[in-house]
Amino acid sequence: MMPEWGTLALALAIVLSLSGAVLGLGPMPLPVELNLKLLRNCTLGVWWALAVAFALLVTALVTHDFSVAYVAKNSNTELPRLYCVAAAWGAHEGSLLLWALLLSLWSVLVARHSRSLPPTFRLKVLGVLALVQLGFLLFTLLTSSPFERNLVVPDEGADLNPILQDPALALHPPLLYMGYVGTAVAFAFAVAAMLTGHLDQAFARWVRPWTLASWLALTLGITLGSFWAYYELGWGGWWFWDPVENASFMPWLAATALIHSLAVTAQRGLFRQWTLLLSILTFSLSLLGTFLVRSGVLVSVHSFAADPTRGLFILGLLVFYIVGALLLYALKGQSLTQRGGFDATSRESFLLFNNALLVTTALLILLGTLWPLFLEVFQWGQISVGPPYFNVAFMIPMLPLVALASVGAHAAWKHGALWRRARGLAATAAIAMVLAVLLRSVYPSGGSWLTLCGFFAGCLILCSSLALWWWDLRASFGLRHAAVGMVVAHLGIGVFTIGVTGVSSFAIEKDVSLAPQESAVVADYRVTFIALQPVKGPNYDGLGGTFELRHANQWLATVESQKRVFHAGGAPMTHAAIFSRGGYDLFVALGEDLGAGKWSLRLQYKPLVRLIWWGGVLMALGGLWALVFRAKEVKA
């Protein structure tokens, strides 16, 4: 009976979302306050209904109820408990339910923490959120219900996709979806603002914390996903420019731009049109990502079962929300007139460049992601757009962006007054240059002039951000919380830039064939293949190779890389051995049996690679700081 209760809960959530949307956006025969009260209860009701549905799905997975098709397809009795739970978002249907659940969570949070907003505005925000919720719930129930039954109950299920059986996976999709879905809040605020005419600075102040929160979740989700790909996929790469990765990165870029443009709108009342458009764009890109991934129009390593019918449904939703919002924007958003100018070196100018560069990057990545599709649709032939394009499309706007951010953070609003800090900034740049040259000299071989550029840009933003703290402290007004958040996030950018530059300039990769007791050298590190032994996991068997790592004849570690064959079938998975110390990682992956006792091995030396994820963590910490302490400031 349990799955039927799940379907019922979904249906209830649909009815409540529909009521919510009508209450929020329809004609208002009732007094506003009463309307709002009803709408808030609907929002809360949707959350409870979906929480019950989700709990039922998890229960079905944990109790191995193979009469549910989703459970039989994505889990089996050997699967460890943690992954049984994680299987709830390991495939298309379940992950959509999580999507809907998280959207309802955002809606409840917005309903609770928006008491200071005008009632009509609040009504519209919650109404738009209910409308978005409604579309996705209909999609879930009509095309992708996780509660469908098997007519014949199998004795044993298939397995969760082996590459998803990893602790990081337990967190990566929920965080990412939290971020994706969170962009709906900024969208709802933008639409509500256009409907009610609240297109003032207040709008920007209201929406900022929500944008920051979804950006925070997106940042952590992407960072975790990148780290997971690095150690689980067995190739030692940290970013592949796969369509699904791009689908998460484009909304991140747009949300980053939005945070910055909201700062201008909140402080100065400028960029209002642009901020509105950007709110719509951010949500569009996150919906577009969902569409690209789930409809099967693009090929990706993250394969969801592709289905054109589902694709058409999502496309319908996409068109409905985005076309509606853009139409509204065309009719209402442009009536805004802007007052107040700013100097060429003011903070506004720098943020304008920031937005232009971030959005350009997002559009270049969108172009590269969609280009193969365009060619195919218009029958111009087939191509695939790979890392060479994306690396350039990413780097060309990003290096100037990092440099501009280093200077722009010091500029004052309206009148840049940068001359006050001209000498200080010059000194900062000089220090950054010395640091970059020092860093470059640590690695005697490899690298190019771009390496120095990358190190310089990274060091520059680190030094200039720290300098901001130093000047703030000396200026006796102490540290401002907003500035602390910004500085920490910018430090994260610097750390990330140095990491990317280091690993792309100096990484060494070697494919060798070794028999036990033989050894090979990669970048001064000697890797000795000690022995091969069988390993046994809960739902897989396999082979483990032990390797000894030495540097200058000094023992560093003994590590194991495994090749796992899951009982439920499928290609064997490589579990790489990664030794991490200070400034570098050593990566050993056991490959194929070449016969005669030899095995193919992939050895990699990856300097500074960890900085990439530490950078991501720092950015998120900065966002968190701004979110928590700014909220306090606003309340106070």
Partner: protein, 184 residues
Amino acid sequence: MTRVLRQFWPFWVFLGLAAVFAKALIGIDRGAIDPHAIQSPLLGKRAPEFDLPSVLDPTQRVRLQDSAGRYRVINVWGSWCVACKAEHEALLKLHLQQSIQFIGIDWKDDPSTALEYVRKLGNPYDAIADDQAGQVAIDYGVYGAPESFLISPQGIVLAKHTGPLTEAAFAAEFAPLMKPGATS
């Protein structure tokens, strides 16, 4: 006019994009577009001719023209190729069920290992050509093993399947292209 351009441009850009997506989805639905296929430029063109020593009997030659007048599946494989082992069972079954020729191109392989391989696992092929130099694989634009081509009785490449051939894939991709009269 300027008003329409200035205020509505995001709207039009997005509508254009949505139209492209709709076209792509309809294309996929009708089978006109398959994002997973690495399409062969050979489709609809004459299959490249080859003349190679036979793996089964090195004194014999294997030529494409020898099987002219019949539907044939050219299967590129190698005893070194793990994925080929995965399709072997399906090939054996298909060879029994379908009254068409199966020609194996043994790609960059040692013919004696290949011979041992088919002796052990069964031989699904009517003829196996020994392509040690890999020239025929280049002519056919092979990306990796296994790959299979369906060739018409007139020698035209009708379809290409990348990766292990399964009974389902055969039924979906190859069978509909064959006219029943011509197979015998």
